[in-house]
Amino acid sequence: MHHDFLDRYSRLDTPLHRAAAGVKLVGALAIVGLTVAAPLAAVAYFVAVLIGLLAAARWARIPWRYLGWRLLWLEPFVLGVAFLTLFQPGGHRVFAGIMIKSTLCLLTMVLLANTTPFADLLRVLRQLRVPALLVTTLALLYRYLFVLVDEAERMHRARVCRTFDRRRAAVWRNLGTVIGQLFVRSTERAERIYAAMLARGWK
């Protein structure tokens, strides 16, 4: 599976990339927090943030086309829920406010993901004394997510090759079996990983 579209630019070498992960994380959270709290009338603020983010993107050599493409991909989900806001007095203002705020926040988070490798974010979490169990789970999740997705795709493809029943029920049953198998294989892989951890001295 091609997954590098998520953080394709996270390993470039620009001043912004070289900045400490903790600083970038705090900065992103601050921008999101302020944007969420800002009243709709603070137009100047929103414009300033937009310009700032676009400038940061340019500085980090992340193509605007990529940002636009990511936003285009993510906006439909936002629109779906935002649509509901229209059904109330003054809904149009709320809708506009939401669209502006969520777009700015999305832009911020896409920038964060593309200037900070996930492993660095994990390191920051560890420094912030986030419980080790959660951080280890996050690390393993990140590491094995695409391994499992590839495995599921291969299994599904192999099953489809020998499925001659085109009905939806058959597709659902196939997917259910593939996911079930994926879980069984994941537990077995977890055992092997545990052995590998032990073999290198983990306690």
């Binding site: 997954h3 590098d4 390993r11 490798p117 996930f118 492993a119 994990l122 690390a139 393993l140 990140y142 590491r143 094995y144 695409f146 391994v147 892989r189 092997r192 990983i193 052995a195 590998a196 951890m197 032990l198 073999a199 290198r200 001295g201 983990w202 306690k203």
Partner: protein
Amino acid sequence: MTTAIEVRNLSYRYPDGREALRDVSFTVAEGECVGLIGPNGAGKSTLLLHLNGILPDGPAPVRIFGETGLAARRRAVGLLFQDPDDQLFCPTILEDVAFGPDQLGLGREVVREALAQVGLTGFESRSPHHLSHGEKRRVCLAGVLACRPRVLALDEPTSDLDPRGRRELKSFLRELPVTKLIATHDLEMVVELCGRTILLDRGQIIRDGPTLELLNDEELMMAHGLERPHILRHWHPH
């Protein structure tokens, strides 16, 4: 000559009751390179997992350089797993290779050295899922070497490698002075690297002897799901 590995009367049953190893006994001297061959399901991988105590000992404990303690054995044995994805479990290459050394308090210099040894300097911040199969193998090797083991136990190290990958790994292993026990189907590698070979089938040691003698015995090889490697068909011992 110091005994690096000593296994005596080792038997093991899988949790579901199947017999995996039956009364296995052998020794490996320091610096020796021993090949462990046998058909699929013979118990080669299971045997390797006993060396550093991941699987429990039988009536007589496994001794690595005379030590029976788990901590000492784990320190001394570097185990390379068959599937690099099982062994490469950290988000970045650097963290993964440093996993062992960090716990042993060895510092980051050994990590850099290990990466240089396998030719992967500069890969420190890469993520494992961006690497090719051969590169992942090399990272696993680096992670094991960084712990400075005295014994290297390898499980199918050349499987899924392209010919160049195999050549590089073979020449790398040839240069490495540590004691080696290599479980493999790559019989040509066994001929090239291992002076001695152990043939395992259905959990039992069938034969333990000089590689050429063992691998040239066509009847024996065929009887145990293997074959005489082509490289030996024109071999002239000198």
